[in-house]
């Protein structure tokens, strides 16, 4: 985490969503690159341009199972007047010591095998008698069943031009070509290319390790018995899943009681495995909001970039938010509100882009579209706050799901979009065009 410009806004400043997001994203920096095994780098961002060290294919090779021959020996060949050639042996894929094909000779050749010296072209086995003397065949007999296939004579029934069915050395890529650009996200085809040019490891920005913990003395682990005044912890599960969905390696710490010392020591313990910490709860104006109380004392706040700031955002849900860094390495920490819907919406808007920034991705935000509001009545929204309502989007229309309450997690589970009601709108009529964040 870099030492960003000092945040000068006072404690009474009401931050807009965009101000907060900009502050967060200009502060976090992509993780330092590391060298990873190819398959461990899947989904990661390439740091350097990759140049091809070899020709691909590395040698002229056959694109068919057939016979490697000289052009002159098969010119004019037909079913009526086949060319009859002496078979000098097999060239299998991976063959090293190559046969030489002289005039009047043929080498049986397999797909991918190097074109042997002396041969100028390949005739597919379907254009020959396969050495059996009974007219055109549909394939070769397996070597195990017919080792004699590699000798004797073959009848060729059609001519072939020079270098027919031959894949030329370097026809895919040439040594010195740029295979992939820095910034490329490594999916299966990019991994295919890296392997094909002999790269077993690659330098990428790693997936961030994200530690998720929820706070609240009322929280009980699922499958345990609820006591009076208790609820199940859902945030640590939801946000761990959401962090994985965003590309992170996520660790769920689970619920920590509202006790400053416990919270502080839990966070200090987690710093060793965290590139990012996410907490839920304890950030509002109550007397038991221990995240606020605890986090200004974690690590060395004299170092630049250290320290946490707690803010009010012009946003619903998600008004109280904390952001800063903790520990000697200034690990970024986002302290989200504790209501499940507030926590989830805050994660989508702020934490997901942080994770993707840490990964070095260019495109860190969820896609947004304009859509027509399909609703039974007008949506109301608090003036001066940007509201994010849960919705269901399809075919250019979005329909609100559930109400505005930040505890309505059942409705959240049916939603696939957030409907954005801007700060200056107090109501939105059905049929109006609205901005929609697609969550899928």
């Amino acid at each position: 985490m870099s030492s960003a410009e000092p945040r000068t806004a006072g404690p009474d400043h009401l931050w807009s969503v965009d101000e907060h997001l900009e502050d967060v994203l200009t502060t976090v920096r992509p993780l330092e690159p590391i060298e990873l095994q190819l398959l461990d780098a899947q989904g990661c961002v390439l740091v350097d341009d990759v140049t091809v060290p070899v020709f691909l294919p590395p040698f002229d090779n056959s694109s068919m199972d057939g016979y490697a021959v000289r052009v002159a020996d098969v010119s004019g060949a037909s079913e009526e007047f086949p060319a009859v050639l002496d078979v000098v042996g097999d060239v299998a894929a991976g063959s090293a010591g190559l046969l030489r094909v002289g005039p009047g000779q043929a080498a049986r050749i397999m797909t991918g095998a190097p074109l042997p010296p002396g041969a100028e072209t390949v005739v597919p086995v379907e254009w020959t008698d396969g050495g059996l003397g009974d007219g055109p065949v549909s394939g070769m007999r397996a070597r195990g069943l017919a080792p004699e296939g590699a000798g004797g004579q073959v009848r060729v029934y059609r001519p072939a031009g020079a270098r027919a069915h031959v894949r030329a050395k370097g026809s895919d890529v040439k040594a010195g070509d740029r295979a992939l650009e820095a910034g490329t996200v490594l999916g299966p085809p990019q991994i295919a290319l890296l392997a094909a040019i002999g790269r077993g490891t690659v330098r990428v920005r790693p997936r961030p390790r994200v530690v998720v913990l929820s706070t609240g003395s009322e929280l009980v682990q699922p499958d345990e018995q609820l006591g009076d005044g208790q609820i199940y912890d859902s945030n640590s599960f939801a946000l761990t899943a959401a962090a994985r969905d965003a590309g992170a390696i996520a660790y769920r710490v689970g619920a920590v009681a509202d006790d400053v010392d416990t919270l502080r020591s839990t966070i200090e313990d987690q710093l060793v495995r965290a590139d990012l910490l996410v907490t839920t709860g304890g950030v509002s104006v109550g007397a038991y909001d221990v995240v606020k109380e605890a986090l200004s004392h974690v690590g060395d706040e004299d170092e630049p970039g250290g320290g946490m700031e707690f803010r009010r955002l012009a946003m619903q849900p998600g008004k109280p938010q904390g952001f800063g860094s903790v520990g000697p390495d200034h690990i970024p920490l986002l302290a989200l509100p504790g209501n499940p819907v507030s926590a989830y919406v805050s994660f989508e808007l702020f934490v997901r882009p942080v994770i993707r920034t840490l990964m070095g991705l260019q495109d860190v935000h969820r896609p947004t579209v304009r859509a027509t509001l399909a609703a039974d009545g007008a949506l109301s929204s608090p003036k001066g706050r940007r509201q994010f309502l849960r919705g269901s989007y399809a075919d250019g229309e979005v329909r609100p799901i559930g109400g505005a309450g930040s505890h309505l997690v059942a409705a959240l589970a049916q939603a696939d979009a957030l409907i954005v009601v801007p700060e200056d709108a107090e109501s939105v009529e059905p049929g109006a065009e609205v901005e929609v964040v697609l969550l899928g």
Copy 2:
């Protein structure tokens, strides 16, 4: 794998892409459900409807940090004439033994804490003096700093109607409601809901374990030295990555030499950890095509559903394909051709849908769109075969990338779509509308 109807098409039958796909997909069955921890079930398909066992929230609770009071005690309160109430203590989230709020009394209450007996409504702390006697406050002082805040008197400056800032028991979901339908894919919001209703585990279809192995004596592991006639193994990397991308737990076995006994014993060894096997190479008409040779002898082919069939498909790339099952448990096996582009395209068209079918997903195919062909010249395509060309898609237009050669892995790494040229077309002009498979 079920015992599907016998495949009656003879060895000379040229299968269409659709016939082969239908044969494959009607043969494989979704995996048997298992009970998984919530976070291990991410991305999996729920097998049963989930009914809510508790009310959510389980009790009336405060949506604000403030004071729980009786309505009559604060009616008519104003800044000039505040209601002055005796603070009988704190109700924190997670509180069990509750204070009782009598006439003229208030309990300091935190967000999420249960509404104590006797209290009828909540006034936010910002509508009070917070017990400090100095006019409206912006929040409570942390309990650690000001334990006296839980006692003394509080001045309330605004009235509150009955049950203001109270989230009613069951207002999110009620016991007996259906939380999630069978067939739902579990993303972060669904995991949030399951945790919130106390479900620590859930019955889903697991991610399939897919074993990927490439065959070919010419294949060398990346980072090793290439000898004459050798190339790097890319298929095992590409298809392992693609299997993970499709949702599977994938194991890369790597390259196996073209030797029947080695291949057979490798496959037999892998059966214990495989719900699906994928091989590349060795399925064509050559004499060294050992996959074909080896696979009819793996396991017990007398059992129904056992055995492999090798076919020619009316398709480019990807003409030779093998499909069937191996071993005593009839583990499905797809034997793909060995050229990297053929293998990748075959994976996208056939293996990805199999993986998603094993997961129990409804939507097993990549999305397709219609697009306008943007190209410098006409595309040519072999008559009678469905061609899949690599392309780049944006804004309703698709542009071919690289040529038709099945070894052009560099071009594949730049593509994000497959352009489909149907069987009856021998050429497609620029500006024509084509079907496009989106790979992203």
